[in-house]
């Protein structure tokens, strides 16, 4: 039996898009074909939305304001609940399991691939939005399509970048942020010498730990699995990455082995470190701080995309947000109307502005949102979706990739090698064995 994979779908849609450009499929893809209001909410519809709790206040305020606008316009009662982002995933899984819960859940990473048969087909919404706003970045299709159908609407991703103190970087002898790995190591050594060391989370930090360790291994050409889902983490490339991690770790502020997600933000804003990897929330916190000293720090904060390693291309992992509409929802049309409404330019761009770009857009047209250029410090986050790799790279997304990340296999491997508790070879072998369990060798 032949299986229509996501890759087949990507090829097919790429073909359709190409056809569109030469006019063959133009009529199908014009925005006019998808007039807003296509989804007429059911009479008396009520929606429950569960989303991750904001990292920056502006996000939540504007999301709720936009929701209110929708509720008034379409006469649909919408309740938005927020939970800590790590709690949303298990709740979504339970909702999928028991067939009851919020109509829409805005979760993280590859959740849509864990229970695609429980999700409503939202291809119509995604085709409408994609057609109207310049198309979706490829990684969105990786995350949100299954067997040729969209099973979630991409909300965007929390982009990550190198967050540094410009004064410290200059004191360390760099005028601009290095774009390669040797340069990054040299910068970290310089920062340590100047008393403003770097700090990257190596504890079981679901967000920050996974983000930078995946980038590091991918940048060296290492990867957990190949395109056929064979576990290949125990490779010369990975070992090279771990040797590099060891050198980098020697320059870190003490204590990073225990760092959870909030630690690097706290240490950075307290002026104890000069470099970390984070979302734009550090800058947002400094900019909006009521403490004059912290507020003044904002002018000294710089952002840069993660350096490129021997892999020869950007290898960032960012926190992706799929918006899933569950089949058990009694009001699928109202839910689709809501999803489409929230992604329309009139709502999406002000929302991005309110959170100074905490969420990077999944639709290409929003690259032009002035938020990305009105403050040059925002710009590196603009391309997060364009340059990121999906979790589980270079294999398929699903249960195995999610479980491998949740079990901190990549983070533990880097931490073991960096701290010297295991040799790079031992750490890679152990990671291989652990990952094989999930990928069922």
């Amino acid at each position: 039996m032949s299986k229509f994979s996501r890759r087949d779908f990507l090829r097919t849609t790429a073909g359709a898009a190409a056809a569109g450009t030469v006019g063959v499929g133009g009529a199908l893809w014009t925005p006019e074909a998808y007039a807003q209001g296509k989804w007429v909410p059911e009479k008396g519809a009520k929606l429950r939305v569960l989303r991750w709790k904001r990292f920056v206040q502006g996000d939540e305020d504007m999301w709720l304001a936009n929701t209110k606008k929708f509720a008034e316009k379409y006469k649909v009662d919408v309740r938005v609940d927020s939970e800590g982002w790590e709690d949303v995933r298990p709740k979504a899984a339970v909702a999928a399991n028991v067939g009851s819960g919020p109509d829409i859940i805005i979760s993280t990473f590859e959740d849509a691939h864990q229970y695609p048969d429980k999700l409503t087909d939202v291809t119509d919404v995604c085709n409408y939005l994609g057609g109207k706003y310049g198309g979706w970045y490829d990684v969105c299709k990786e995350y949100c399509t299954e067997k040729g159908k969209w099973v979630a609407v991409p909300m965007g991703c929390a982009g990550n970048a190198m967050v540094y103190r410009e004064s410290a970087m200059k004191a360390a002898g760099f005028e601009t942020f290095p774009k390669d790995l040797p340069g990054l190591l040299k910068l970290c050594e310089g920062l340590k010498a100047k008393g403003m060391p770097a700090g990257f989370a190596l504890g079981n930090a679901t967000g920050d730990g996974n983000v930078w360790t995946h980038w590091l291994v991918w940048a060296h050409g290492g990867r957990m699995v190949d395109a056929k889902n064979n576990v290949v983490i125990n490779s010369p490339e990975t070992i090279a990455a771990l040797e590099y991690a060891k050198q980098l770790y020697a320059t870190f502020v003490p204590g990073t082995l225990s760092w959870l997600d909030p630690n690097n933000n706290k240490a950075f804003l307290d002026g104890q470190i000069g470099l970390t990897c984070n979302g734009i929330s550090v800058y947002y916190a400094a900019k909006t701080s009521s403490d004059a000293k912290v507020k003044a720090m904002a002018a000294d904060i710089g952002h840069a995309n993660m350096p490129v390693g021997p892999a020869g291309k950007p290898t960032e992992l960012n926190l992706f947000f799929p918006m899933m509409l569950f089949k058990y929802s009694k009001y699928p049309n109202a839910a689709k109307a809501y999803l489409a409404y929230m992604m329309e330019k009139e709502q999406y761009e002000p929302w991005q502005k309110a959170s100074i770009g905490y969420v990077t857009q999944p639709l290409k047209a929003y690259e032009k949102n002035p938020i990305w250029t009105e403050d040059p410090k925002h710009t590196p986050y603009r391309d997060a979706m364009k340059i990121m790799l999906p979790n589980g790279y270079a294999g398929d997304m699903g249960y195995a990739s999610a479980a491998t990340m949740a079990d901190f296999i990549m983070v533990n491997m880097v931490a073991e090698a960096a701290s010297g508790s295991k040799t790079p070879k031992e750490a890679a072998e152990r990671a291989q064995k652990r990952a094989e369990r999930y990928y069922k060798v």
Partner: protein, 284 residues
């Protein structure tokens, strides 16, 4: 009988039975599993992280329970004396137990922070150390740090329960022992301890159960890190079952805790509730 039986069936037997059954399947979140027999247990036995979590759990439970017992008993005996402001002190002792675990765990998270620890800060100010202590960054230090947090939180339970037990001992027994010329140690050994043993058995059984199944302190303070050195069976079970979606494997880890818990209960039952000994006789 029927309501009680129903309650036990719905809230105890069914979840336990379901958990045990799930441990023999490869159920994933959102996907029904199939029977895999002992496959989960075979994997867990060979899994270094699980074995480390088992060691951590046993070590954590043993060290924390012994210290909680010793300090709790000592505190109970102090509070049993005629101290000034006795009621006030008894109330204060309960405070760590009253504070929600998540809150006290957050407080410890700050106390042990690599950059902001009040302990490190104080020692630095006193000139006793020249750099902050990495409480949670070094595996053994992290283990002892979370054990200390557990002890702080668990002592009141032990102390107050034992205090209640001490107050049931008739003062006339101590007077009689004093008249016989018993030393303080002999009074403790031959009066207090035998009469307190049934309470100790109950208190320590509960204390061991609570410690063995601890989750919140670890989840908030370390998430099982660094390098999984503070992962307990309960936190690993959650990580695999809920965050990772492997319900079957997570259930197997949870089920694997049951024999240890039963052993603790049986030890306390047969080891400590020896009635002949308590009543001055000899155990056969």
């Amino acid at each position: 009988m029927l309501p009680a039986g129903l309650l036990l069936l719905v809230f105890l037997t069914y979840p336990l039975g379901l958990g045990t059954w799930l441990g023999f399947t490869d159920t994933k979140i959102g996907r029904a599993g199939v029977w895999v027999g002992l496959d989960n247990y075979r994997f867990l036995w060979g899994d270094e992280v699980t074995r480390l979590a088992l060691f951590n759990t046993l070590f954590y439970t043993f060290v924390a329970s012994v210290i909680k017992f010793a300090l709790g008993l000592w505190l109970a005996m102090l509070l049993n004396r005629n101290l000034p402001f006795k009621s006030f002190f008894r109330a204060v002792v309960l405070l760590p137990f009253i504070v929600p675990t998540a809150l006290s765990a957050l407080a410890f998270w700050w106390i042990y922070d690599a950059q902001f620890s009040i302990v490190s800060w104080s020692l630095m100010k006193m000139g006793l150390i020249d750099r902050y202590i990495d409480f949670l960054g070094e595996p053994w230090l992290a283990r002892f740090s979370v054990i200390a947090a557990n002890i702080w939180r668990g002592i009141p339970f032990v102390a107050i329960c034992l205090l209640a037990g001490l107050q049931t001992i008739s003062p006339s027994l101590y007077e009689a022992a004093a008249l016989d010329g018993a030393t303080p140690w002999q009074r403790f050994r031959f009066v207090t301890l035998p009469l307190l043993t049934p309470i100790i058995a109950v208190v320590m059984t509960f204390s061991v159960l609570f410690t063995f199944t601890d989750f919140q302190l670890i989840y908030v303070i370390t998430r099982g890190g660094p390098l999984n050195s503070t992962h307990l069976m309960a936190t690993l079970s959650f990580q695999r079952a809920i965050s990772g979606g492997s319900l079957g494997e997570g259930a197997a880890i949870a089920t694997a805790m049951v024999p240890f818990l039963l052993a603790a209960i049986l030890f306390s039952y047969f080891g400590l509730q020896r009635r002949a000994w308590q009543q001055g006789g000899n155990d056969k």
